[in-house]
Symmetry: C2
Subunit: 182 residues, 2 copies
């Protein structure tokens, strides 16, 4: 794999654990057996690294959702798979969404990074709003905003307490709306 991607991989994992300011060029370089100066060739400033990080994360996530929901026909199915994608991503590597972490410290981030985080959330909400519109919900955007907020918050609270049941309960709240009444 090329160095740039490797840098992004390591930076992403570390930032999802501890935030933007807790990750240093030196730490990343050490893990790659490189010198920190070499990283500046790929990402001159940390701000550049941050922007590239969120952009890649954003594109990757959208591509994943697109791929997983492409063959589905109903909005219910699409939302269900969307939530499960989030759950899988969270449970597999045990890391909170990159934008949940960066979003929490957004006012302290370099402006271009904060802007990318903002766009990530807006795209997520737009996508989910479209699904709720197809379902003729009375307030599709409010529904989407709540669902995204719930997922993001659940990852944080679940991670901070070490209680996976919190995420499960929250994800289930979104899905239960589609279960047939008994």
């Amino acid at each position: 794999m090329d160095s740039a991607s490797q840098i992004l991989d390591i930076a992403e994992r570390r930032m999802r654990k501890a935030g933007f300011n807790a990750v240093s060029y030196r730490d990343i370089a050490a893990e790659m057996n490189l010198k920190s100066a070499s990283l500046h060739y790929h990402f001159p400033k940390k701000e550049d690294l941050g922007v590239a990080l969120v952009q890649r994360y954003s594109e990757r996530f959208e591509a994943l959702v697109e791929a997983d929901t492409a063959d589905l026909e109903t909005p219910q199915e699409k939302i269900t798979v969307f939530v499960r994608s989030y759950r899988n991503a969270f449970e597999e590597d045990g890391l909170v969404c990159l934008c949940a972490v960066l979003g929490a410290e957004a006012p302290g981030l370099p402006d271009p990074v904060a802007s990318e985080v903002k766009q990530f959330f807006e795209r997520m909400i737009d996508w989910l709003t479209a699904q709720y519109e197809d379902l003729s919900f009375a307030a599709p955007r409010a529904q989407a905003q709540s669902a995204i907020s719930l997922l993001q918050g659940a990852m944080i609270v679940s991670s901070a307490t070490g209680d996976e049941a919190i995420f499960e309960a929250s994800a289930n709240t979104i899905l239960v709306a589609f279960k047939p009444a008994h």
Copy 2:
């Protein structure tokens, strides 16, 4: 006001904006027209400052909820006021909950600080669980976990996007369960 409280005030405001690692003794001291060395008299290590910060935040928040809900009789009223307390705290100063920010970077925090954050969430969930139990909800704890997650996530997404409507929509999702059917 005594210096310790003043330090905590400034540190809290800054950390709620940008996270634990973005706040330095120097910055805090400068705002007080002090030298950074003086701060170490009150909080020898940054870890001590972090613990004191979360403890004070936690106690203050619980006292506020206790005071606001003491005279209320029904769980519905208590939950409603609880959510409104969160909303007021968020909208008045425009800052995300301290534990939302620290919770997002929990794996990167000093252990004693992370432990305090964890306890904050557990206490919040316990309190809310008790209310849902009184309402005879089928899964009171799951309900409480979802509600806390939703509030925390809504602050973050709302703050990161600059869209206050997101928090409003999310808070309303919790409250709407009590509105009489028309």
